[in-house]
């Protein structure tokens, strides 16, 4: 029995040896004779390599069971919807009982009003009232639809033409709210991949627009032209494809947060040197700067077509509401289809559009308003500061409210203090703001500067 098994094994072994040593099993590669056993070794090497290349064993991921998810949901405790309100943010705004003209009534008493941006004194002007009344009787109050769906009323088109004619650009587009102008216009032109260089003191509307555009934003120091030049140089140097991507400089003509005027001539020089486009927000300078009120471009004598996009809110000098954006035909037409605040929102109420037309008419016919405004500002400043029409004293924020209330109660002067939202990234100092108007009289101005000096000395002495 054993011998037959042995015999069979020997036979099998012999066959294997014959198979391995058979003529075809051996190969002649490059003159080297390869024996059959190399085949077996070769196969072994292949198996080893195969095993090495296998990924190591990972235990499979088990999804959470329904019961576990239920437990997690029960255990989760959300934060409260709003954080607790701290004392320092609290304030109660004063309630006006009459129109926000140079004088207004607060708490039954007549006060001098320096808190409204009524630069040309058009609040309460009879021509404005007449045109509004006529528009209200004809069109009602609201426009009941967005511009694309029968919300375009002929007064809107007239207003757009009037604004464009006044400034000297080919076309303009009307928005239904002041701050929505900038934060709708910027995302229409700036997308991901574009570069924007903005002043770090721009107001919240512009900051929101920059954030929504998802472009790369570089801030330069507030109104510092050297910092701007450095930023522009850095971007042009670092970006090899600089001429292919859209690059913008965003500045305000008169900064809402600090009252300073942007030096437009330097900006234009830099823009042309580095090939950037300029987006200018003229909310506080339209109807104020320039010999006929056309804004910063007239003030510096720069042709208006050098600025690519000009936006402005009409809630300041024009004493109405809403905003406009103006520029070349291409710029304006593009916004009619891609600007969210224009396409997806109801249009400006027609009476406000007709108020804007009347306000521009009044401005054109009465250039002495601008002269009066300038005289008033000069009187308040007596040639110490640069030409601005609102003024900032730097005082600590907690003290500001006290200053405001004392000036209101004791001297019957109504001024404004800057407030910052938690979402605002601006770091400029806060202070007391005065909006000077063409309709303020000399006595008003003397009263406010006396009051401010007196109260601030008193408060600062007690600190």
């Amino acid at each position: 029995m054993a011998s037959t098994v042995e015999g069979m094994m020997k036979q099998a072994f012999d066959w294997a040896m014959i198979a391995l040593n058979a003529p075809f099993a051996g190969a002649v590669v490059f003159g080297v004779h390869i024996g059959g056993h190399y085949v077996a070794e070769g196969l072994l090497v292949v198996v080893i390599i195969f095993l090495l290349l296998q990924k190591s064993y990972k235990p499979p991921k088990k999804p959470l069971t329904e019961k576990e998810v239920d437990e997690l949901c029960e255990d989760w405790v959300p934060e409260s919807l709003i954080p607790p309100i701290t004392e320092e943010v609290k304030f109660e705004p004063s309630v006006l009982e009459s129109a926000a003209g140079p004088h207004t009534i607060v708490n039954g008493k007549d006060v001098v009003n320096f808190a409204s941006a009524n630069y040309l004194g058009l609040v309460g002007h009879e021509k404005l009232m007449e045109s509004c009344t006529a528009a209200l009787e004809k069109y009602g109050v609201g426009s009941c639809g967005p511009r694309g769906f029968y919300g375009t009323i002929d007064v809107h088109l007239d207003c757009e033409e009037r604004v464009a004619k006044f400034i000297g650009t080919p076309d303009s587009i009307l928005y239904s709210y002041g701050i929505s102008t900038m934060f709708s216009a910027i995302p229409a032109f700036c997308k991901k991949g574009d570069v924007i260089v903005a002043d770090d003191g721009v107001h919240w509307g512009i900051q929101n627009g920059l954030h929504l555009s998802r472009s790369t934003v570089v801030y330069f120091k507030h109104n510092d032209m050297e910092s701007l030049e450095r930023a522009l140089e850095k971007i042009t140097r670092e970006n090899k494809r600089a001429s292919k991507i859209r690059r913008y400089i965003v500045v305000e003509a008169i900064y809402q947060n600090s009252g300073q005027i942007a030096p437009l001539d330097v900006i234009i020089r830099l823009k042309e040197k580095f090939r950037f486009r300029v987006l200018l927000d003229e909310s506080n300078s339209f109807g104020v700067l320039g010999s006929s009120g056309r804004g910063l471009t007239e003030h510096y004598g720069v042709p208006v077509d050098k600025i690519d996009i000009i936006t402005a809110s009409m809630g300041h000098a024009l004493a109405t509401d809403g905003g406009f954006c103006t520029g070349s035909v291409r710029v304006v037409d593009h916004q009619r289809l891609s600007s969210s605040g224009y396409v997806f929102s109801a249009s400006l109420p027609p009476y406000l559009a007709s108020a804007a037309i009347s306000a521009i008419d009044i401005l054109e016919e009465n250039p002495q308003l601008l002269r009066k405004l300038r005289e008033n500002v000069a009187l308040l400043w007596k040639d110490h500061w640069s030409f601005t029409h609102f003024v900032l004293f730097v005082v600590y924020i907690i003290v500001l409210m006290v200053v405001h209330m004392q000036m209101l109660k004791e001297d019957y002067v109504f001024v404004m203090v800057s407030k910052r939202s938690t979402l605002d990234k601006c770091n400029l100092p806060v202070g007391v703001k005065l909006f000077v108007s063409a309709s303020h009289s000399e006595s008003n101005l003397l009263k406010v500067s006396d009051s401010l000096n007196r109260v601030s000395k008193l408060i600062l002495a007690n600190l």
């Binding site: 959300p78 709003i82 954080p83 309100i85 006006l96 609040v123 009602g140 593009h334």
Partner: protein, 482 residues
């Protein structure tokens, strides 16, 4: 039947796109021949990005942005325009045509001069002038504003409210204040652009749930709470679910009771945007909460606009006293935006008084009944005629499906020729194949106006081929009309 429609629609779009591409090739060639020199500036509007606008939208541009020359009441004057360069630019001409207005958001008929509201509005105008030129926190709060906020809060059914000058800004400035990084916003698929802006400005993570599907919302909430924040898996700070009362492109009411139950179960906060439903639905006009029987205390933040039912402008947020106080101290729209124009505020106050019957007449109740009856009548008649109509009963927004891009301008132009003004909506406001005409019913439409509208739409629908469903037998239909 519907498959054939889809095939036809896609084929039409494909054909237009193909022609557009050929024209673009020619343009590329011609531009290459006479290249403009931009002096090293990148073009402000990228040359070939706006293919849809240039090759599809411009062809039918005359159906949009039609100017009007009167108040957007039940009948209004549409200004005619002409084009010399094949629809690229349109110029106004002096001719106007009086048309039936089935397009404006004029749900309760306050769009034109009203016998109660307009004299009071003019009085406020004389007293407070068109603008306060100031923000609410500086010198812009007048007694009208405080009165308005109390009135709106009482009307909506919440302890307090805050009013803004524009509805779009309300949504986009409130959501970033309520939730920031580390929070989650779960938003309905078909929410309005202002909500999308607000969500993207907030910095929170945004998840979309299937339109009006509470079961999918529950799935999303369970998944997100279990997973936690992306990458760190820390628990979410808070979750806000954003939905609308009436969806303006679908005409549907939201499934509010079910969604509120889901949100309460998972401790998520709810934000309800009642832009189209406040004033238009509900027995006393108080919106979807009243209509669907939901307690207003169950909705954390209620938002709405005054443009549609109150004939004015602006938006509001209503909520608990603490919430409104917090918003008044921190919301950028309140701190930096101009106060709402005083005459507009007076219009809202007067309109609310009329709706509640506080002006001493029953006009408010009549308006509310009329709009409900008008919407239901119009919707049922259109369905009987064989049109595919979307939306729920009681909703004043009635979309009629068109699908095919060739039929879109045909419907609009033919209706205008027969003096009925309609709104057509296509991409990007809706999904590409689902173009539609959207009718907005008003309380100022009389039965005759609606019959005229139905007649014209019926005729044009036959001409254009929009009746995708079988009509009810004619004999029955004629009897009903008599």
């Amino acid at each position: 039947m519907i498959i054939i429609t889809y095939i036809q629609t896609y084929f039409s779009y494909g054909l237009i796109a193909f022609l557009g591409v050929i024209r673009d090739l020619f343009r590329l060639f011609l531009e290459f021949l006479n290249s403009t020199n931009d002096h090293g500036y990148a073009p402000i509007c990228p040359r070939f990005d706006d293919f849809y606008i240039r090759r599809l939208y411009l062809r039918i541009q005359d159906c949009f942005n039609r100017p009007i020359a009167s108040a957007p009441d039940a009948w209004f004057d549409v200004v005619e325009r002409c084009s010399n360069d094949n629809n690229k630019t349109l110029k106004r001409i002096t001719k106007v045509s009086k048309c039936l207005n089935l397009a404006s958001y004029n749900y309760l008929g306050f769009a034109s001069a009203d016998e109660y509201c307009t004299p009071r509005v003019i009085e406020s105008l004389k007293k407070f002038s068109p603008s306060t030129c100031s923000t609410r926190v500086d010198g812009g709060t007048t007694i009208l504003h405080t009165e308005l906020e109390e009135c709106v809060a009482k009307f909506v059914g919440k302890p307090a409210s805050i009013v803004f000058g524009m509805g779009f800004v309300t949504n986009s400035a409130i959501l970033p204040v309520l939730v920031g990084e580390g929070g989650l916003i779960v938003s309905d698929k078909l929410n309005h652009r202002s909500i999308i802006y607000g969500c993207s400005a907030s910095g929170a993570t945004v998840r979309i749930f299937e339109h009006n599907t509470p079961s999918h919302l529950e799935e999303v909430l369970r998944e997100e709470i279990a997973e936690g924040q992306p990458r760190t898996h820390k628990p979410w700070k808070k979750i806000i679910v954003v939905l609308e009362g009436i969806y303006s492109m679908e005409g549907e009411l939201c499934k509010l009771p079910e969604i509120i139950t889901v949100c309460k179960k998972y401790k998520a906060y709810t934000y309800l945007d009642e832009a189209h439903s406040i004033g238009a639905v509900g027995k006393t006009g108080r919106g979807v909460c009243e209509l669907l029987g939901v307690n207003t205390a169950d909705v954390d933040v209620m938002m709405g606009t005054f443009t549609k039912s109150f004939g004015s402008c602006g938006g509001y947020i209503a909520g608990s006293k603490k919430l409104i106080e917090y918003l008044k101290y921190t919301c950028p729209a309140h701190l930096y935006g101009t106060a709402i124009s005083p005459p507009a505020a007076q219009q809202i106050l007067s309109a609310i008084k009329v709706i509640l019957g506080e002006d001493g007449s029953s006009r408010g109740a009549q308006k509310l009944t009329r709009i409900r009856e008008n919407s239901n009548f119009f919707r049922s008649e259109l369905q009987k005629l064989g049109f595919k109509v979307l939306g729920d009963n009681d909703s004043p927004v009635i979309p009629i499906m068109i699908y095919n891009p060739g039929k879109i301008p045909a419907f609009s132009r033919e209706c205008l020729r027969q003096n009925v003004a309609v709104v057509i909506v296509g991409f990007p406001a809706t999904v590409l194949p689902l173009a539609r005409a959207r009718i907005c019913i008003s309380a100022s439409h009389t039965r005759e106006d609606l019959m005229k509208g139905l007649e014209v739409i019926n005729r044009v629908g036959d001409l254009v081929g929009m009746k995708y469903l079988p009509a009810e037998p004619k004999k029955q239909h004629r009897v009903k009309l008599e």
